[in-house]
Assembly symmetry: C2
Homo-oligomer: 436 residues x 2
């Protein structure tokens, strides 16, 4: 080993280690969601962490492109760490041409060079499901229903999926006289309605459009949270707008038919920042913990895959923020951190007892117990038992020279403190009876 000065162990800002209790909590959430998505017919895939940069750029908006971890690799290729799971999926579809509709899920970290803040990380886990190659409304409803079912399987009930439609939002803005070039700015302002309030958003929009009256009317209408039927009364929609509204109502009708009506609502202020959405869009708030932001978001993006292929391929998907959900569950006391228990600790009383201890451990594991050999074999029995008690094992198997020389071991029940001498060739059977 090369000698060198001591290195300060440290983590990059916005990055995290997961120690066993946190990792196991996260894993249980992921596994419950995965089982649900599999029951909806979604299949898992995985893609590389690194992509050619031009595969990723130009899809997330200017802001998104700036947040890429982008560099030149040893072969001077322009590469980036993946920013989300949707663009890599589009690349996968274009390259592998799977049978359509292609329903996949992926759980993987993504990297964004954002300013770290409480709950905002530079490396975080996304859990995405998407249906590729299917038009509305079936696939749109299916991803929303699958998402709702996954949240419920995780133990979350107190949430609302807020749905909107990009085409509808555009038509509403047109009806208020907002020109196409200004729409993006106005949408960005409306997106802040919940946090900033009506007055502040009116002011922002007036600044963009130049008309305070128009800005006030638009903002108040959106803030009034009209239902889809009410909206048709309030706003004269053009044909595109009416089609979009019909599509959204169709999706929401299917969600209701599936028994998910209580979990959804129409919200005209939902826009989703990402450039690539074209149809239905949605976000999900935890009603009692709104500060966690959207824990499940997505929408339809019918143009994205076409950027990689000669043909247009419709697609819709949902992305679950696993880290936010885990944090929210922990805060609500719905997720218990825990280690995987070791059930049996094998205690060797001295170095000579190690070989018998290893033989015993194999017997214990073959009997179906998790088991380890305590490395502190040189310590006194009391110290070894104290270590085992702290660890919370169910049984200790104690190997002392006297017992072992007669072909016996001592089996100690750590719950009630009782112990018995057991013949080595009977140990599996004695334990098997206890666990079987």
């Amino acid at each position: 080993m090369n000698k060198q000065t001591q290195i300060k162990p440290r983590l990059l800002k916005g990055f995290r280690d997961y120690m066993p209790p946190e990792l196991l909590a996260r894993r249980s959430v992921i596994e419950r969601a995965a089982r649900v998505f599999e029951s909806f017919g979604f299949q898992p895939i995985d893609t590389p962490a690194l992509e050619y940069s031009d595969v990723l750029t130009g899809k997330y908006g200017e802001e998104g492109d700036k947040l890429l971890y982008r560099f030149r690799d040893n072969g001077d290729r322009d590469v980036s760490l993946r920013y989300d799971l949707t663009v890599p999926l589009a690349r996968v579809v274009a390259m592998h041409r799977p049978v359509m509709p292609f329903k996949r899920y992926q759980v993987a970290p993504v990297w964004r060079a954002e300013k770290p803040a409480k709950g905002r990380f530079r490396e975080f886990l996304q859990f995405d499901i998407d249906v590729v190659g299917a038009a509305p409304p079936v696939a749109d409803a299916e991803v929303v229903i699958a998402g709702i079912s996954a949240l419920r399987a995780i133990g979350i009930e107190d949430f609302k999926v807020r749905l909107n439609h990009r085409g509808l939002l555009n038509a509403v803005l047109r009806s208020f006289g907002v020109s196409d070039t200004l729409q993006e700015d106005v949408i960005r302002s409306l997106d802040k309605l919940e946090k900033a309030g009506v007055d502040a958003v009116t002011e922002m929009i007036a600044k963009t459009t130049g008309s305070v009256t128009q800005a006030g009317e638009l903002t108040r209408m959106v803030a009034g949270m009209p239902g889809t039927a009410e909206l048709s009364q309030l706003v004269k929609l053009d044909a595109d707008g009416q089609d979009s509204l019909d599509e959204l109502q169709g999706v929401m009708g299917l969600c209701r038919a599936a028994g998910m009506g209580d979990y959804i609502r129409f919200d005209l202020s939902i826009a989703r920042g990402l450039d690539y959405y074209t149809g239905v869009v949605f976000e999900t708030q935890l009603l009692s913990m709104p500060r966690f932001g959207s824990v499940m978001s997505g929408g339809r993006y019918d143009g994205l895959i076409g950027m990689f292929m000669g043909e247009m391929v419709p697609a819709v998907g949902i992305s679950i923020g696993i880290d936010r959900l885990v944090n929210a569950l922990e805060e609500a006391g719905l997720l218990k951190s825990h280690d995987i228990p070791v059930e049996v600790e094998v205690l060797a009383m001295g170095k000579d007892m190690l070989e018998p201890a290893f033989a015993v451990a194999t017997i214990v594991r073959d009997a179906g117990y998790s088991c380890e050999i305590y490395t502190g074999f040189h310590r006194k029995l009391k110290a070894q038992l104290s270590f085992s008690a702290k660890k919370g094992v169910k049984f200790c198997v104690i190997l002392g020279p006297d017992e072992v020389s007669q072909g016996n071991v001592v089996l100690r029940d750590m719950i009630n403190g009782s112990q018995q001498v057991v013949r080595l060739d009977m140990l599996g059977r004695v334990l098997g009876g206890g666990n079987g």
Copy 2:
């Protein structure tokens, strides 16, 4: 969506997509190994993909450092993608100071800018177990036994773990008069024995040491694969060498005591390339498929963690090459690629049948079946059934206007082709009987 020219979808060389069948095959291998390691008391952790570069450099040798994906991030920090899971573990131990012995496992991708070749990738998955804070021989034997047990749980029996000891190898070289400064070069040559043969390795070593006689004797002795007892006859070991031999024999004795004797053997030619090993080292070859190289390697590295801490912390671990194992299993026909089956396909005969179809899907899923609604609801029954048959579903639930208006659906058994009309409120019970 911004218009832009079409982007060629492509993958970086040495990187891979995993489509569902491959991913599921890999997942089943990982899960079987994880269950074994958990039964040995190892707990999972996770660490970031990116680390400060100085956390990683100086531990893998000069060659390793050159293979890092290293760059400056948006904040001009010198960062690198992780190269293995052992150095991040050392950082974790120094930062989190877990209770010792700390037994952790981690399954995660690592990145190395190597020249891609058949079976050699720039992004690949490692599965590591390590025991931190425990001296030999218990922990060393435990990781070897756990590794052997994991391979067997995966379905592999035809393998041999070849063990050596760094201190022993150094003592043998000293006894042949190889000076300390030349040892590393000589070890690198001996490492090639299997591939290059005795004559070529003798020549390499003679070039390093200047003595053809000495080089020939050393190479022939190592190539003769002496056992540990035989070695003591052949070579006069100094005190350090004898201690190392005792340690290695102790570890091998414990492996035999655990019933793993058939899977291990002593091999003086095993050195392991990585700079940080200090004690027992091992590699594992598949006997019938040696071209896959070592599928499980590791050893003791008592100095590494000390590079991050004021104190020395002993540690030993094993790393499984999941990708190699998956490839080997596939080649041996021991791993079947498969999708997660969808059991029930719900077929809506036209748009008006979609809402009832979504209601039916919820009933089917509540009855414990995986289920999806076919998106081609506008297609004729024959086409929808043909899609379902190709997909391999067990049942189709068919919703036509006539049946649905009477509160019925058609349940078709896709295995035997029989079908029955079922009342909607009985569907869950009828299916429940079939699956329960």
